[in-house]
């Protein structure tokens, strides 16, 4: 058998539904319970040392997927295999016992909200070491924190260690968040929009930093973003989400420069291009109306009410996943040969 690249994370038909809170009377009158179908049956796999991008617009289920993968949310249904072991139904205790809290980390979007304003950088970054009982030796903790601060280029580390978050710029705060995620030498990191709150001139240096940890520490990433232009610069493969489903998967270069699903085409054609002449000629593919509620997503293909190419079947049946070239798949009736 040919040797395949090793898979680190495998997600198989994953669901995450959130119950909608309703009053007793509403439940009585309307009967059935309602759910926000945030993630509604998605599958993908991430290879070791890969940067896998999960992209899509607001509310498509990206963060929810990320939270399930790091154990912050329990899946409603489906399987997650991590490094060969099924971790989908582990209790918190088991999660910790297997060392997953050390191996899997998450970096959040907002460097302003994700750091405790009353803690010094030293304490923020040391927290994972203490919570996971890596060591109690104060000297060793400080040494490890200073070392990781150097690595994320918060230098001089001895100065930054004693600052509070409000004494840092947005870019520096995101470096602290990265240091905290990396201090335990994780294998797998979910980075949820790590640069979308940052200014253009400092984004590239934060992305360089994520690359550094892949090169030197073999970190594997799930990189969550709504920004396909940036995705192209960091990612290897990508999945595009719409209303809790994956509509297209493939190498980032294929999907972003040659999108096939009507939703991906609309998304890509809406991205502003830093090239005025190209921008003036550009044709956009427009979707009708607005994104429907994930409580009652449209029947059949979820895009059909907005899709410029919708056919009869699209409103009746969910499209199958079609492989249009090796590694590039689209879930759309347009590509089903009949």
């Amino acid at each position: 058998m040919p040797r395949q690249d090793q898979v680190l994370v495998e997600v198989d038909n994953l669901y995450k539904w959130f119950p909608v809170r309703r009053s007793f009377l509403e439940t009585l009158l309307k009967g059935e319970r309602l759910f926000v179908k945030a993630v509604d049956g998605i599958s993908f796999s991430i290879k070791k040392r890969e940067i896998y991008v999960l992209a899509g617009e607001s509310g498509s289920g990206k963060t929810t997927t990320g939270k399930v993968l790091v154990g912050l949310e329990k899946p409603t249904r489906g399987r997650i295999v991590y490094d060969g072991a099924d971790i989908s139904s582990l209790s918190l205790k088991e999660w910790r016992r297997q060392g997953l809290r050390k191996k899997i980390q998450m970096i959040f979007q907002d460097p302003y909200e994700s750091l405790n304003p009353r803690q010094r950088v030293l304490d923020i970054v040391a927290e994972p070491l203490i919570v996971n009982r890596v060591t109690r030796d104060k000297r060793e903790i400080e040494e490890r924190v200073l070392k990781i601060l150097e690595e994320v280029k918060l230098t001089p580390a001895t100065e930054f260690a004693y600052r509070y978050p409000h004494q840092l710029s947005g870019g520096q705060r995101q470096r602290v968040a990265i240091a905290r995620a990396m201090v335990l030498d994780p294998e797998f990191v979910v980075a949820d929009e790590p640069v979308s709150m940052l200014d253009a001139s400092i984004r590239a240096s934060i992305l360089d930093l994520l690359m550094y940890f892949r090169e030197h520490k073999n970190v594997t990433y799930l990189y969550i973003t709504h920004d396909l232009a940036t995705a192209r610069y960091v990612g290897d493969r990508i999945a595009i989400m719409y209303l809790g489903k994956i509509v297209e998967k493939g190498s980032v270069e294929d999907v972003v420069t040659n999108p096939q699903h009507p939703y991906t085409q609309a998304l890509v054609s809406s991205i502003p291009v830093p090239d005025p002449k190209y921008a003036r000629e550009k044709k956009r593919i427009e979707l009708k109306g607005e994104i429907p509620s994930p409580i009652n997503p449209p029947k059949g293909c979820r895009l059909h009410p907005r899709c410029p190419f919708a056919m009869d079947i699209c409103s009746r049946e969910e499209p199958p996943e079609v492989e249009i070239k090796p590694g590039h798949t689209v879930s759309c009736w347009l590509y089903v040969k009949r």
Partner: protein
């Protein structure tokens, strides 16, 4: 013949006098906008974009104040007008789509009535009923279902709320609309539709627009001319093609090199070193020098002069200063 100038800002300084020091948010800025132009003001967070916009609206919040310079709007020098005189011009000559405005609509008032109120306040209509009628027309103009005038903000999506805010800015038919980050926080597909709407209205009505944004690609898509702001100063201006294809200032070049594109060959992204300065104590000389790979000794000592690069274009950088200027300095 030169087309009419709608806005002229000359050597404007706007400072915030805080207890922890003077923030030189807008420091010797000059800018002009012609009738029917869509001009972009692009710069990073904290560079002074909103402050400049507040000054043009004569709404600089305390402890900020216009320190010197001139703002001429449709031929009227508004810098020295009384608050009462300014109030007559605000919304009718110049209006503003405030940063984040879609999240500060009054939650307990129908959106149509919020527009009617603006109209009523300025005496543009006699009663709410007439105001609502105009609100419906405005909704059509910005691509909203006119029936939506009866909605409350929470019943609308982010994109729809932003359209309401745009309708409000257009209510009194101003010569100039300042749009401060009008699409930030919206999805790209919504953003594209909103920008189309602004562009279409601008072309149809001949209104002038000052688009404030940190999003360089967005600027490439919609603007005629561009002002690049860095740390309280305009470092470069030119028409949109010039800024993107032949940028002069190292900061503009750096920004363009740091911005990813989803088309064309994949180039390497080059990160600009460092971060923008604190405007309470900006670096001496050129404010960009600590991050600039072309910095020369003079850049650390003296502020760069303004060098013309076209009839209306300039760059403020020692690399382009004439030899005579350098010798004197």
């Amino acid at each position: 013949m030169k087309t009419a100038t709608i806005l002229e800002v000359e050597n404007l300084k706007v400072y915030y006098f805080t207890q922890r020091g003077v923030v030189r948010a807008v420091d010797d800025v000059s800018l002009e906008i012609d009738k029917g132009e869509l001009v972009a003001l692009v710069g990073e967070s904290g560079s002074g974009k909103s402050t400049l916009a507040y000054a043009i609206m004569r709404m600089v919040p305390p402890p900020g104040r216009i320190v010197s310079g001139r703002i001429v709007l449709s031929g009227i020098d508004i810098t020295s007008l009384s608050e009462e005189e300014v109030r007559k011009l605000r919304w009718s000559k110049v209006s503003m789509i405030f940063q984040g405005a879609m999240n500060s609509l009054n939650p307990v008032m129908r959106v149509g009535d919020q527009i009617a109120e603006v109209l009523l306040y300025h005496g543009a209509v006699y009663d709410v009923e007439e105001g609502r009628k105009i609100a419906r027309e405005l909704f059509k103009l910005v691509g909203l279902d006119p029936e939506r005038v009866m909605s409350y903000p929470h019943e609308l999506s982010g994109g729809q709320k932003q359209r309401v805010v745009i309708a409000m800015a257009l209510a009194l038919n101003p010569d100039l609309v300042i749009a401060d980050e009008p699409t930030t926080g919206l999805d790209v597909t919504t953003q594209a539709k909103i920008m189309d709407t602004i562009r279409d209205i601008q072309r149809e009505t001949g209104i002038s627009v000052l688009l404030i944004t940190h999003d360089l690609p967005l600027v490439a898509e919609v603007s005629d001319r561009v002002y690049v702001m860095y740390a309280g100063k305009i470092v470069e201006t030119g028409d949109v093609d010039k800024i993107f294809y032949t940028p002069q200032h190292p900061y503009t070049k750096g920004l363009i090199g740091a911005v990813p594109s989803h088309i064309g060959p994949k180039k390497r992204l080059i990160a600009l070193p460092g971060e923008p300065p604190d405007l309470r104590s900006p670096p001496p000389g050129c404010r960009f020098h600590p991050r600039c790979s072309y910095a020369m000794p003079i850049c650390k000592r003296k502020e760069p002069p303004r060098t013309g690069t076209g009839p209306r274009d300039f760059v403020e950088c020692w690399l382009y200063a004439g030899e005579e200027v350098k010798k004197v300095a």
